[in-house]
Point group: C2
Chain length 186, copies 2
């Protein structure tokens, strides 16, 4: 099952390497980005991992929802990996505007392996089509949840946001999901 | 099958994005690294993708074989991917000493998904063990070969080096495999 392997790859090759550095990165970022009028909450210190059920992923979050703006990148983490010297790992920081015009900070990105699931469903030689894709996204989500629940390195450092494709009619579905998460963390 | 999905992911999420930029990166590198006493050949302009059958991967190639030295990194490629702004992709350049003491340049790295296969075989909850791992590495290799054979973006820009675990007794197995490839390209 493709999604099972991609969930393990996402954890073993990324989340367990980067999440332990997240808090320190965010602290450095806040020290160099003071007084810029944005609201930081407890939820701002977790990596929001966006998982859209229809695997429809933008390269820039603000293309998905105009209440979202790119703020800046966190400082880089560099690791020697499998022959690549100083491979760079980074996360992007965004703000989401609520209905009062308050700008809330969050660190977020799509679960990149979903791009693979999406592209594989378009390549006839890859062996699965659009109808299986949604099942594979759900399998990815559940497998990742199980893995992360057992992971000490990742505990309390992330939040998986499963985004329903039925809410796609709402141009602000993404910022609303993010803001709901940030409120719940308070 | 885990290896099938990882091969597709490696192609769709990495090789087809980075290989088209390789030649230009190498040209820039050579312009800023002139007259340093190393030999460049046609084979030096392809990405050597190392696939050890026992999935035993070092983070630094020179740890595997002391005839290999790290030279420098190619210039970075930055791409906006799934919400990460300016995600960095880079390759490391190495030299391999032949038996006459000539230092040959190559751009090489292990196939990163093999790290996932290796770690999954160590995690009991991931669903496969050491005995299946070798089969999965072979499946990865064959699937990747088939995908790359059909890929216009990647044609002539890479070489897959399958490294036999029986040659592991030879401390210079890796540099010999690399040098054999470089000679064949002449
Ligand atoms: N050598 C090498 N250099 C790279 O820069 C690189 N980037 C990706 N890959 C490999 O290609 C394949 C597809 O990548 P994808 O991004 O879809 O999944 C990635 C992605 O979802 C996440 N990830 C890894 N590195 C990053 C990163 N820097 N930023 C965001 N996500 C990342 O974790 C998954 C597994 O990563 P790797 O296990 O390192 O191997 C990947 C994978 O096999 C790379 N391999």
């Amino acid at each position: 099952n493709v999604a099972h392997g991609l969930a393990w790859s996402f954890y073993l090759g990324y989340l367990r390497l980067v999440l332990p550095h997240l808090e320190a990165s965010i602290a450095k970022f806040r020290a160099t980005h003071r007084g810029e009028g944005h609201t930081w909450t407890c939820g701002s210190k977790k990596l929001l991992i966006l998982i859209p059920l229809n695997a429809n992923i933008s390269d820039k979050l603000e293309q998905q929802d105009d209440s979202i703006r790119f703020y800046d990148n966190l400082p880089n983490t560099e690791l020697n990996r499998a022959g690549v010297r100083g491979r760079v790992y980074k996360h992007s920081v965004y703000t989401a505007l609520d209905e009062h015009g308050t700008s809330h900070v969050f660190v977020g990105e799509y679960a990149t392996p979903l791009l693979t699931l999406y592209s594989m469903s378009q390549e006839s030689s890859a062996g699965f089509g659009e109808s299986e894709r949604k099942q594979q996204v759900l399998l990815f989500y559940r497998t990742l949840q199980d893995i992360l629940d057992q992971s000490l390195e990742c505990q309390n450092r992330y939040r998986l946001l499963l985004l329903d494709d039925e809410e796609e009619q709402d141009a602000h579905a993404l910022s609303k999901a993010v803001l709901r998460h940030l409120e719940q963390q308070e």
